[in-house]
């Protein structure tokens, strides 16, 4: 088990390094750089006319004039050695500061979403499998199909509207005004949860849809197995029967797709965040792209990816622990 864990860990590190290279290349793709934007920001309204030389000077000042490969090694070197993600140009501070709290909030959204996803999809998936071909089953299938098909930004907009108009829900942030600047406390955490449900539901819907289908399919397969039929024949009570084998096994594919779920959630997060007016990493990422604030974009992309890779790692370990056969295959 230890060896397996260590192996997976090394694999994770290698993946992360390759990802960082790709992320950096993407950061480099947009034409122009922050120096142009910075020049406007710096001199806007000052009556100073900006020349190409000024912009070049800014470029030198920001270190954007160095060759790309050098900047990559600087960038990744600083991240690995000093935990320094570089400069957030638009905020005139370090990326770490800009990202700081938002990473926590993003994680909160992520886990909120995952919890909703599993709390809903596992029991309902099992239920649908047990009541196969029933009215409830078809209803649930339709519901999950809808989750797949409804673009989540639309869902976000609609939920936002109705939550706001009907329930008077607080929107456009993850904290209410009085809690925003307060230090972390139980009340603040409660406040966060009160604000978290909307994005979490939006993000969870499609995740639930996928997982529901997975659980239902695996569960159906397991239910068809001889062991279950035999146990039923022995007169084992139905609930006990379900929990003993099939339900446990049906959770395996769910565990194995945690990384995939995280990936999908992060994928959808920026758009949902924009619609809901959340100020977390996804929304910041979009803004960073538009501002060409590339170190912010890079750091966020890297962070999101890291979380995905890490969750993959966790899911591998969890799976190996749940089902020792996996290890041999791995």
């Amino acid at each position: 088990m230890l060896r397996f864990t260590a192996e997976r860990f090394v694999g994770m590190i290698v993946t992360m390094l390759l990802v960082s290279l790709m992320v950096f290349i993407i950061m480099e793709l947009p034409p122009g750089d922050y120096a142009d934007r910075y020049a406007f920001r710096k001199y806007s309204g000052t009556g100073v006319s900006v020349t190409e030389a000024d912009i070049q000077a800014i470029r030198v000042e920001l270190g954007l004039d160095k060759p790309m490969l050098l900047r990559y090694f600087d960038w990744i070197g600083n991240i690995v050695l000093h935990g320094d993600f570089g400069q957030a140009f638009a905020f005139e501070t370090s990326v770490t500061k800009v990202i700081g709290d938002k990473a926590l909030l993003t994680t909160a959204i992520l886990f909120g979403t995952l919890i909703i996803t599993y709390l809903v999809s596992i029991p309902i998936g099992i239920y649908a499998a047990v009541k196969r071909a029933s009215f409830a089953d078809y209803g649930l299938t339709t519901f999950s199909y809808l989750g797949l098909a409804l673009p989540n930004f639309l869902l976000a907009l609609i939920l936002l509207y109705f939550a706001n108009r009907w329930f008077n829900a607080d929107i456009g942030g993850l904290f209410s005004a009085e809690m925003k600047d307060a230090p972390w406390s139980l009340a603040k955490a409660g406040d966060l949860i009160a604000h978290l449900w909307l994005p979490a539901i939006v993000l969870a819907w499609s995740a639930v849809a996928y997982q529901l289908q997975t659980v239902r399919a695996t569960m159906s397969d397991e239910l068809n197995k001889l062991s279950v039929t035999a146990a039923r024949a022995r007169g084992v009570p139905e609930t006990k029967l379900l929990i003993k084998y099939p339900a446990r096994l049906a959770i395996n594919p769910v565990v194995s797709t945690i990384g995939f779920d995280v990936n999908r959630i992060f994928s959808e997060l920026p758009i949902v965040a924009v619609v809901l007016g959340l100020t977390e990493l996804g929304e910041l990422l979009l803004r960073a792209y538009l501002d060409l604030d590339m170190y912010v974009a890079g750091a966020i992309l890297l962070l999101l990816t890291f979380m995905i890779v890490f969750m993959n790692f966790i899911s591998d370990i969890l799976l190996a622990w749940l089902d020792p056969r996996i290890k041999l295959g791995g």
């Binding site: 990802v19 947009p30 034409p31 990936n263």
Partner: protein
């Protein structure tokens, strides 16, 4: 009579079955999947509407009706207070502005009737961009009046017509994106699956890396990299390329694993032992046996392409007006004002949902039908 006829028919059917090729068998099995058939029909209609957009849509995607702004859908009717008619008609419309809220309000004028006609003459268009015609599927009798089945937007543009044109754009982007990622996947997955060994290991690692990065943030980065001076056509192709460029990993993995398993199938070994060259083995044996699976995968990857396009356009990183796609239309509809006052602008969302659902259901149907030999044993 019946006694003898029946076995004959069974026999004929059996013979037909025996000499049916894989595609025929897939089709037969697929046909049994009723939901998938319905979905395929809907999708087919959608695709046809897109292909023949110029004729199906009564008006051009940017042509306006200045006297009907933010106008609600007009339902053709057969009866009104003046009595009934065999031909469907709509009432004339007067648009006024509320003096306090300044909202434009369209008031039907029950005194005037305008009749709907089919294959009506209307705007001059070029079908497929070449064939000139002024025939449209339907329209109004009256020259000046316009029929807005699904209402109009804030510029007085016909939502129905725009949706039809948007269908063309969005579906074609999906198709192009899927094709590009398919070609990439085929090359990459094919190389990995056929070469195996170290090449395979390297490619697997790269695939893993691409797969692990959240895709829409990645798309966003690439979309942000599009030079602002690009024309709408360039943006269109760039979008398909972007969607295609990162859609391949899942497909490539599938192709690779399919290839790896097929490579060791007995009949492939048999062909090799019969002296077949690699080209023949791939072309004659491996490709045909995994095309059906690949088609399933392609169909399944469509929804993601479509949703990605809509999402990117929605945040303003994808297509932009005056291009008209589902995403562009929804982006323009993305407001509380629209939800409250002109909800019909969300009709394209229905298309997105239906298209994605249809692709998913067809994918499910195809997945069941794709291996027609699984049952034959």
């Amino acid at each position: 009579m019946t006694d003898t006829a029946k076995p004959d028919r069974d026999e004929a059917q059996r013979l037909r079955y025996y000499s049916a090729s894989q595609w025929t068998l897939i089709w037969w099995r697929f046909r049994r999947h009723r939901a998938a058939m319905v979905a395929a029909t809907i999708l087919g209609i959608m695709a046809l509407m897109g292909v023949f957009a110029e004729v199906v849509a009564p008006y051009g995607p940017t042509s306006r009706n200045a006297s009907y702004l933010d106008g609600p859908p007009q339902l053709p009717m057969f009866c009104d207070r003046q009595g009934c008619s065999i031909r469907p008609f709509v009432h004339g419309i007067k648009t006024e502005r509320d003096p306090i809220t300044l909202r434009a309000i369209s008031v039907p004028d029950p005194e005037t009737r305008v009749y709907v006609s089919f294959l009506a003459r209307g705007e001059q268009v070029r079908l497929f961009g070449v064939i000139p015609t002024d025939i449209h599927l339907f329209g109004l009798d009256h020259d000046k009046a316009r029929l807005h089945l699904w209402g109009t937007d804030d510029l007085g543009r016909d939502v129905f017509s725009r949706t039809i044109y948007a269908t063309r754009t969005s579906l074609s982007i999906g198709v192009m994106g899927v094709l590009i990622s398919f070609v990439l996947a085929l090359i990459i997955g094919g190389t990995a699956g056929y070469a195996g060994g170290r090449v395979d290991g390297g490619i697997q690692r790269v695939t893993e890396v691409v797969r692990v990065v959240p895709i829409i943030p990645l798309y966003m980065g690439l979309a942000a990299a599009m030079p602002p001076e690009w024309s709408t056509t360039q943006v269109y192709f760039a979008m398909t390329l972007i969607l295609g460029l990162f859609g391949w990993p899942t497909l490539a993995r599938r192709i690779r694993s399919q290839l790896l398993s097929i490579r060791n199938e007995d009949y492939v070994v048999a062909a090799r032992l019969a002296g077949a060259r690699p080209s023949r083995i791939i072309g004659q044996h491996m490709l045909p046996s995994f095309t059906s699976f690949i088609i399933v995968d392609l169909v399944i990857s469509f929804p993601y392409m479509i949703l990605s396009e809509t999402a990117l356009s929605f945040v303003g990183l994808g297509l932009r007006p005056p291009s008209v796609s589902w995403g562009v239309m929804l982006q323009q509809a993305q407001s509380v004002r629209v939800i409250e006052q002109t909800p019909w602008l969300f009709i394209p969302a229905g298309f997105v949902v239906v298209a994605v659902l249809a692709f998913t259901v067809i994918g499910d149907g195809l997945r069941d039908a794709a291996d027609p030999y699984s049952e034959a044993r």
